[in-house]
Amino acid sequence: MPVSLEGRCVSKRGDRLANRISRLGLVTTVLIGGCASTQAHLVNTGLGPFYDGVLHLVLSPDEMLGVAGMALLAGLGGAQFGRIALFTLPLAWLAGSMLGMTGRINLVFPAATGLALLIIGMLVAWDRALPPSMKPVIPAVFGLFMGLMNGAAATAGSLRMSGLIGVAATVFVLVALLAAFTVWLAGRPPWTRIVVRVAGSWIAAIGLLLTGWALR
């Protein structure tokens, strides 16, 4: 019987699943890494700026991975961290987007998204209890950072304020669904927690790949 890092027993089924997920993660990494430019593809749904904002986020694999990583991290931290991230991340994202739209703060550099994904992914894979004071700080900083880049892209495109609200609303919905699912999953047999950590390791790997790609 394989043993996890915490010394807990992991079933063969869980081990096989984790292996399979790792392989799938490698393929995903290559696919997403292949999307060379994922920064400013603003989408016109024909349904107005709110839905343009929704689809902009959904069709941005790097931003989606960031939100997913943050939700997984919050979910692993339990319901309380999940609640904090649920409200902090979308608000910080919106604030960052509005700041980014003004063009006064420019944090966009080639490896920005990759580094953000790397850090969040590593935190998920590491799965250590975070100090309580860090719980609101991490989603706030991450949301502000991603929002700033989002706002800069919005300025370049046609995403207006209602588009940014669409993005923030989508972040809220995604965090709610994914963090709740992770909380539910983490309370199941021990191997399920490993699955979440493996997912975190993909996000870190994708972040590393994107960083390397940007700095090449």
């Binding site: 989408v43 016109n44 749904t45 024909g46 349904l47 107005g48 839905y51 319901a79 309380q80 999940g82 609640r83 649920l86 209602s162 919905v173 709610a176 669904l177 963090a179 709740a180 699912f181 909380v183 539910w184």
Partner: protein, 385 residues
């Protein structure tokens, strides 16, 4: 506290909730009119001798605001000396209208291949909720294959155009032009694109905030999953019935009174949600599916406006109706699943909402329903004057 003395503080909070919801009600409808749900329609028919009969039906704001179209005394049946007036559209294209258009018409226009020559000047007809323009074109050199039809201004007006082309050999091509894909090049192997009607249905429900709010109101008074299934099914069956009846032309409901009653259906749910939260009961709370069915019949007529205004050829209506309805259902089921998913997530994450926050959805539904009811009533009354 059913039947008990009202706590003055709770009353105060309720009033604050009403004020907040009222404020939301003032904000939402203003943005709600920003997008045109009804698509425009471009119909191109190749005649046996190669001539093209072209119709362009564009919605006017009159239906949305209940205003009458300005009279077009020199319009209907009028022959114009020239097809192109020398004026230009906002996008720089030469004007096809030969006379100024109604300011209430959506600011979009069709784009034809440059080598097309107008045979007869355009005629215009003012309909209840749209303007209908018709032209005749000379037989195009090389036929229709390779011809590109499009529309300009879709991104500004945030609306779609359904293009329907019938060639002389009986081939039918249907495409939905959107702000993202605003032109269609005809090729020999094209046929009806089924996805267009499906997309219209999805867009209609996603932009129809009033329909979504009614569904949200139903979800808020449903006590369990079985009742949820019954209620959503009843709403679906009812609106499918009237959508079919209205689109097939067996019955119709005038748009302004219909919009008023749809708003009334939302307003009706507001007090029921508050009653449900207080633990009180009523016919609606005991049998929400009955209300869902009754008002669903009305909402079906509303959905039909998305298809009816197109004036589709009779042969295409059954397929268009089916796909449009499937699109509406996809949007509706997606919305219901999203709400249920969020409710479950909040439970798992142990989110504890404050009393005003818990009351907000009910107040929002009621207040927005009241706002729309009054607004649409005023619009309807102003149309009678």
């Amino acid at each position: 506290m059913p039947g008990g003395t009202r706590d003055p503080r709770a009353l105060c909070r309720s009033r604050a909730g009403f004020r907040l919801a009222g404020l939301l009600g003032c904000l939402f409808p203003l943005t709600g009119f920003a997008h045109e749900i009804r698509p425009a329609y471009l119909d191109v028919r190749e005649q046996a001798d190669g001539r093209l009969e072209v119709s362009w039906k564009v919605p006017t704001l009159a239906a949305a605001f209940g205003e009458q179209l300005p009279s077009l005394p020199a319009a209907a049946g009028q022959q114009y000396p020239v097809a192109r007036s020398g004026e230009h559209e906002a996008c720089g294209c030469p004007s096809l209208w030969a006379r100024p258009r109604s300011s209430l018409a959506m600011p979009i226009h069709p784009v034809f291949p440059e080598h097309f020559k107008v045979l007869s000047p355009p005629r215009v007809e003012a309909l209840e909720d749209s303007e209908l323009w018709t032209w005749s074109f000379e037989p195009p050199v090389g036929g229709l294959d390779g011809a590109e039809f499009g529309a300009h201004g879709l991104d500004v007006a945030t609306m779609d155009v359904l293009v329907h082309v019938v060639t002389a050999d009986g081939r039918v091509v249907t495409r939905l032009l959107t702000p993202a894909v605003s032109s269609l090049t005809l090729t020999a192997d094209q046929r009806v694109q089924l996805g267009g009607y499906l997309r219209l249905g999805i867009a209609h429900i996603l932009l129809g905030v009033d329909h979504l709010l009614f569904v949200l109101g139903l979800l808020l008074i449903v006590p369990d999953r079985w009742m949820l299934l019954k209620t959503v099914t009843a709403f679906t069956v009812a609106h499918s019935l009237t959508l079919a009846v209205a689109t097939l032309g067996y019955a119709e409901a005038p748009l302004e009174p219909l919009n008023v009653t749809i708003a009334l259906s939302i307003l009706f749910l507001g007090p029921e949600i508050v009653r449900f939260r207080r633990g009180e009961t009523s016919l609606t709370i005991r049998h929400p599916w009955v209300v869902a069915f009754a008002f669903g019949l009305l909402h079906g007529f509303g959905f039909a406006s998305g298809l009816r205004t197109l004036g589709l050829p009779a042969g295409e209506i059954p397929l268009a109706l089916l796909l449009f309805n499937v699109g509406v259902e996809i949007g509706q089921v997606g919305f219901v699943l999203l709400v249920l998913g969020l409710v479950t997530s909040f439970r798992v994450l142990e989110v504890r909402w404050s009393r005003p926050a818990r009351a907000l959805p009910g107040f929002a539904v009621g207040s927005l329903g009241a706002f729309w009811f009054v607004q649409r009533l005023v619009i309807m009354a102003s149309g009678w004057r």
